[in-house]
Subunit: 230 residues, 2 copies
DNA sequence: TCCGCTACTTGAACATGTTCAAAAGTCGGT
DNA sequence: ACCGACTTTTGAACATGTTCAAGTAGCGGA
């Protein structure tokens, strides 16, 4: 259970401003972890980082933007962690399970204040919403992971379903994240159980698409998804 | 497209305190609608209602609690609106579609600031979360509606699935709400399309459970749901 | 060296949700 | 009418996210 150290965040800092920027971010993340998001004040972050409040706002236009930066950092870690899994595993279930569990691991240190973070998930106007235009790059990078999960696996799927599936798996991850946020079981037992049991289920569901009676429904589902994407 | 009037909220006000309570609530809801949640200050609510700020807090311990009260009010309206539909329709699709559309109608006047409201959906600690202990009564009342949707319909289902289905339909509604919050299409065209197309799909999926190859997966799904509920 | 431009930094001021000690009102009992 | 207990009301004070006008530092060019 490796925990991200502060210096992990500070990488390739070059100019003067960049150093201050990273210093503020790493200080903020440390305080978030230590005392939670709500109890960490901007004044505390600034003081602890040895800068003025206004200076913190010069680099991060709001407290939520510090979260956004953290989120990006998290995703980078996840992308990295996923590589070895995708290289090693060849069938769908372990690939998907591994990817989800990897997310769980990199996010674990932040579980306590994650609620405050994902609070914004439902707020359409916030740039932090996973559905927003601003988070499109991060979202697409995330969807790309699931595309690789499928492409590198042994699944045989109808073309149209295969095209939509990465986004659906991403959506599934969003659901699991929502569950995780509410999960207060010891060692995240319940979330782990959810992952370990739901992925094989998805696998079975996907293989069901070969049954003739099912095919029609699948087509309709794909059609529905396509129609509401615009 | 009937819009809730302020006096709809104020009903059966009796004692002195109750009157003030309702006055504050109705004023708050009016301002929320007129200027949005974020731009409505507690001072504005108090001033407009002709009371002091502290007095508003005497009745509602936070701004969010004013939302909670609104939410309860909304649910009451929904329950009422649903009666005629459940009395008239006898098959699943129109029953379910009607219930969802009724929700859309009573909620329509608040669509603009709904984002701020459902923001709390993902925050585990907030009593406003639909999954929280505090909102259990409201949630159960809502689930009950879906139980009636099923019980009064022509659906023939395996007993164990039938037992879990009301909660699943409630979850489906949560998903639709999330979609609705992000829907900025004219006249909520896209959300309406989502309802009208997804309900028949659910209907078809449910009838698929008769196919032998599907039965096993359904059992597993039901098992998974049951196991993660604890 | 000095000028001017940009990047950076500051901290006081502001906006707003929330708290709280004190005041005012209400009401039943004597 | 007065007392005491409880409910209701008040507004100033507080906490904290955010803004902004002003100041400082660094740096390339004359």
């Amino acid at each position: 259970m490796e925990v991200t150290t502060l210096t992990d965040v500070t990488e390739s800092a070059t100019s003067k401003g960049e150093q201050t920027r990273e210093l503020i971010l790493s200080t903020a993340l440390r305080l978030f972890r230590q005392q939670g998001y709500g109890k960490t004040t901007m004044r505390a972050i600034a003081t602890e980082a040895g800068v003025s409040v206004g200076n913190a706002y010069y680099y991060y236009s709001s407290k939520e933007h510090l979260m956004q930066a953290y989120y990006d950092h998290l995703q980078d870690q996840h992308r990295e962690a996923v590589e070895s899994i995708l290289a090693a595993e060849k069938s769908f279930v372990p690939r998907m399970t591994g990817v989800l569990r990897a997310w769980l691991e990199v996010s674990a240190p932040y579980h306590e204040f994650a609620g405050t973070f994902f609070k914004t998930a439902a707020e359409p106007k916030s740039p932090l919403s996973p559905f927003s235009e601003q988070s499109r790059p991060a979202r697409e990078a995330s969807v790309e992971i699931f595309r690789r999960v499928i492409d590198g696996s042994d699944l045989k799927l109808p073309a149209d379903l295969k095209a939509e599936l990465p986004e659906l798996l991403w959506l599934m991850q969003m659901g699991i994240v929502l569950f995780w946020v509410h999960d207060d079981s010891a060692d995240l037992r319940r979330t782990k159980a959810l992952i370990d049991r739901s992925v094989p289920l998805v696998d079975r569901l996907l293989r069901l698409t070969r049954i003739p009676g099912v095919r029609g429904v699948v087509n309709d589902i794909v059609g529905l998804i396509r129609s509401i994407k615009r």
